[in-house]
């Protein structure tokens, strides 16, 4: 009797301790942050924040959807400072409807702030995406596309980059900066303006890093192949022609613009096309032929009017 009671008591004690551990971990996290920051002073500067960040790096398991959203907004703000955004409301609405359609059939139809699509008024042939749900297509690329299914293919490719978090993965080595910002948040009780300013600098460095990766370096070959594959699957699910990804790649003028635009950083076209041909979704029948002409007509109408 007594033995069983003791056993039960220790079981309950163990559960109680387990329940407390969550609170304990929060407390210790804050204590670490405060003690580290307390040790470096009220206005320790970026270097000291890096020291604090090193203590907190274990706390960084990845970015939240909210942080991803703010990073995406910042990268988009940089893109839109470099390129002029279209003001053609009807065309933008059409592009956003096609984009929302493909996003809806992706693995992540919902992001923190939703998906948003913008036409950039430049003759460069390009499409770009930023974390959190921001997609940009240039007028130069749009002009080369023959139909709605091709537009859907380009947007589905970019949406897949977002869903797979390819942009964020390109700054994975910069996770420390997130910890720095976190360190700044805790120290805000001490000197909020300075801390916010410094957190803004850290944020800016991360944005610059990401922007450089997305715009100048581009995604890795594997990421591009993954985006192609994801686009084929999205098109199939939505009822678009899954072959449209290949159609886009085979546009002659797009290939000649390859040097400076959308395909610049991508793997060789022949490799991409052969990879797509292996997709199981190309062989599966869907109803894409049924509405193809109707979609092509509304595409022509939307783009021609612009």
């Amino acid at each position: 009797m007594i033995k069983r009671f003791i056993t039960s008591f220790f079981c309950l004690l163990a559960l109680f301790v387990a329940g407390c551990s969550e609170q304990m971990s929060q407390l210790s996290f804050e204590k670490i942050g405060q003690s580290v920051l307390g040790g470096v002073g009220i206005d320790p500067g970026i270097k000291s924040y890096m020291d604090a960040g090193q203590h907190m790096i274990k706390a960084v398991k990845g970015m939240s959807r909210e942080e991803e959203y703010y990073l995406g907004r910042a990268v988009s703000a940089k893109i839109l400072s470099r390129y002029q955004a279209s003001t053609d409301f009807n065309l933008l609405r059409y592009i956003n409807t096609v984009g929302t359609t493909v996003a809806r059939f992706s693995d992540a139809p919902e992001t923190f702030g939703g998906y948003h699509f913008m036409l950039l008024e430049t003759n460069q042939v390009n499409a770009i995406s930023a974390p959190g749900g921001y997609v940009f297509i240039t007028r130069g690329l749009l002009k080369l596309l023959p139909d709605e299914d091709s537009l859907a293919a380009v947007l589905a490719h970019e949406v897949t980059h977002i869903v797979k978090q390819h942009g964020l993965k390109s700054i994975s080595q910069s996770n420390l900066t997130a910890a720095l910002a976190d360190a700044g948040k805790i120290a805000c009780k001490l000197n909020c303006n300075d801390v916010l300013q410094q957190a803004g600098q850290v944020f800016g460095a991360t944005v610059d890093d990401l922007f450089k990766n997305l715009i100048d370096k581009g995604y890795s070959r594997d990421q591009e192949l993954e985006a192609d594959s994801g686009a084929v699957e999205i098109l199939y699910r939505a009822g678009y022609s899954a072959r449209s990804v290949q159609t886009v790649m085979e546009i002659e003028n797009l290939q000649s613009a390859n040097e400076s635009g959308w395909l610049k950083s991508h793997p060789g076209l022949s490799k991409r096309i052969s990879a797509i041909k292996n997709s199981k979704f190309l062989g599966k029948p869907n109803s894409s032929e049924l509405g193809f002409e109707a979609r092509k007509t509304r595409f022509a109408k939307a783009v021609k009017l612009s």
């Binding site: 009797m1 069983r4 009671f5 039960s8 079981c11 309950l12 559960l15 109680f16 329940g19 407390c20 551990s21 969550e22 971990s25 929060q26 996290f29 706390a59 960084v60 398991k61 990845g62 970015m63 939240s64 959807r65 909210e66 942080e67 703010y70 988009s76 703000a77 940089k78 839109l80 400072s81 409301f89 933008l92 409807t97 809806r104 059939f105 992540a108 139809p109 919902e110 992001t111 923190f112 702030g113 939703g114 948003h116 699509f117 997130a178 910002a181 976190d182 805790i186 916010l196 300013q197 957190a199 803004g200 600098q201 944020f203 800016g204 009822g239 109803s287 049924l290 509405g291 109707a294």
Partner: protein
Amino acid sequence: MRKLLPILSLVLIANAANAANPDRGLYVEVNSTKLREKPQFWAKGLKDLHYGDKLASAEQENSWFKTKDANGLEGYVHASAVTKKKIILSSKSNSAAAKPDETDVVLAGKGFNREVEGAYASAGGEVNYKAVDQMQKIRIDDVALYSFLQNGKLRVE
């Protein structure tokens, strides 16, 4: 009494387990979404849900969770809009505070948030947030999207 003791212990353990992890459930991880009548985006929205809202422990049906809100209202929420990790909204901003253990939400609201964006934007870099805000204003509602899919003979779930 001897027979009852193990049962009593189990009951106490179960209660203690619930108390130790009172936050078991789902949390809305996006700015806004809907609790829907059916597991479809086109289904009637029963209630608007917001970042950090807690939902009951749920069973998953493909990409949808069948769940209940705090008032017991039953409906469906898409898996990409929720997380099993705990989200605690900070009182200062509408951001979420997070704790560092692996089962928790990662640094939500503690790192890059509206305040940090403000500091970054005011630093004078080449950024055009006004254009981003304009971009975000274009929203395609479900009614318009449904019609678009139907007219284009696209898939309507």
